[in-house]
């Protein structure tokens, strides 16, 4: 089992979609929200995903495909 801490950033059109609920329902993952800031036109959620590494990667790919930006909690790691 693995745990991954991530930041999801939602575009306006996905604010009302239950993306995190579906991630927990459709994949073998436990989602654990730690911090969030959501308004009517944008939002971000810092959360932990708990599950097998393959399943985390599959779930994250699905989230990205929905149009959500997924980043490490530390922000961009690749530096100049």
């Amino acid at each position: 089992m693995a745990k991954q801490r991530m930041k999801f950033t939602f575009p306006t059109e996905l604010i009302k979609e239950p993306v995190i609920w579906r991630l927990g329902r459709d994949f073998e993952l436990v989602t654990n929200i730690r911090r969030a800031d959501v308004t009517d036109d944008r939002g971000w959620v810092v959360l932990e995903l708990d599950g097998e590494m393959d399943e985390i990667e599959r779930g994250v790919r699905w989230v990205v495909d929905q149009g959500v930006r997924v980043d490490p909690v530390a922000g961009d790691i690749v530096e100049g």
Binding site: Q4, R42, D71, V73, A74, G75, V78, E79
Partner: protein
Amino acid sequence: MSFARNLRCRECGRVYPTDPMHVCEFCFGPLEMFYDYDALRRTLTRERIERGPPTMWRYADLLPADADSAVDIGTGMTPLLRASRLGRELGLERLYVKNDCQNPTWSFKDRVVSVAVTKAREFEYDTLACASTGNLANSVAAHAARAGMKAMVFIPADLEVGKIVGSAVYGPTLVAVDGSYDEVNRLCSELSDKYPWAFVNINMRPYYAEGSKTLAFEVCEQLGWQAPDHCLVPLASGSLYTKIYKGLKELAWLGLVEWRATRMSGAQALGCSPIVEAWERQSFDIKPQKPSTIAKSLAIGNPADGYYALKIMSQSGGHGVAVTDDEVVEGIKLLAQTEGIFAETAGGVVVAGLKRLARQGKIGPEELVVAFITGAGLKTQEAVAPALEPSLSVQPTMASFEDALSERTGALPATK
């Protein structure tokens, strides 16, 4: 000796021991280094600092590691030059340039990596790691060699060969990742969770970032123990900018300089300017961007410290400025042709930003301004080469030379 006491969450304030960790276990907020400032106030003097080594480690009391154990390849105490010719061009009477091109791997990254590798060795890691397209990779590879540690350096698969040499020569394991920028980010985050490596800007980040404070310390010492009125700093993750401000505040708290309410301005390239874009919207909400600029050393689309940088910009009365790639090239040339300093693209961003802010009256002509030039131009020659005048091609005869020169300049110089 180090007066480092604990790590604190920048969001919820929870306190942690000085372990290799970077986010709060409760809210996943970033952790920040705190020191015993009361003890520092009793111990630290200008004279104590001046007796230290001629490197950044003269400020070890304000870093999270001891100078005796430092992995030091001679970083810091880079020149602070009075830039009179550039200042005249821009209408700034008291302009200084902090030339951090002169570090051992030719960028300010040596400051942060020196602290990170020192802590990594203290934590008994045997491997240093990073993901980088340039300056950071060079510095991590060099410091790992000096420390006798292994280095894992992750680079994008499409990185030019010339950029790899400056890292490969030190003997790291170079891993070219065939994926998008975001995928490389996520992979490195997963790797840092799985492998017992000191990832300099992930699990070492609270320590790593502290190294940037030494730029502020040096500037104040080199100005005769006074703080500048205004700083202009290149913005990538925002870490350098926030730590320069922290350094200025620490010196003032400790009574080593008088507090001057230094204004902190930051510059980005327009093609990757998430912090300045938020600044212009008067918002603290950073919208991540896909970078598209020649200023690759600043190309961080989702800056970890962007929010904190915006808070300082707002509180200090500074400004955010974003410049085009053409302005970046002109900035590189202007600095080179007025002060003899060949900076990489980040330096071009700073000089172009300085020009814009001065013209708009956002930097006063009488202010004591310090522009931070953070990396050397030989690393990014391709950015500026097409904009330079080609050399004169002549035959080895006086006539050929004089023909070519008069064609170029319109006249020949006076003879003896």
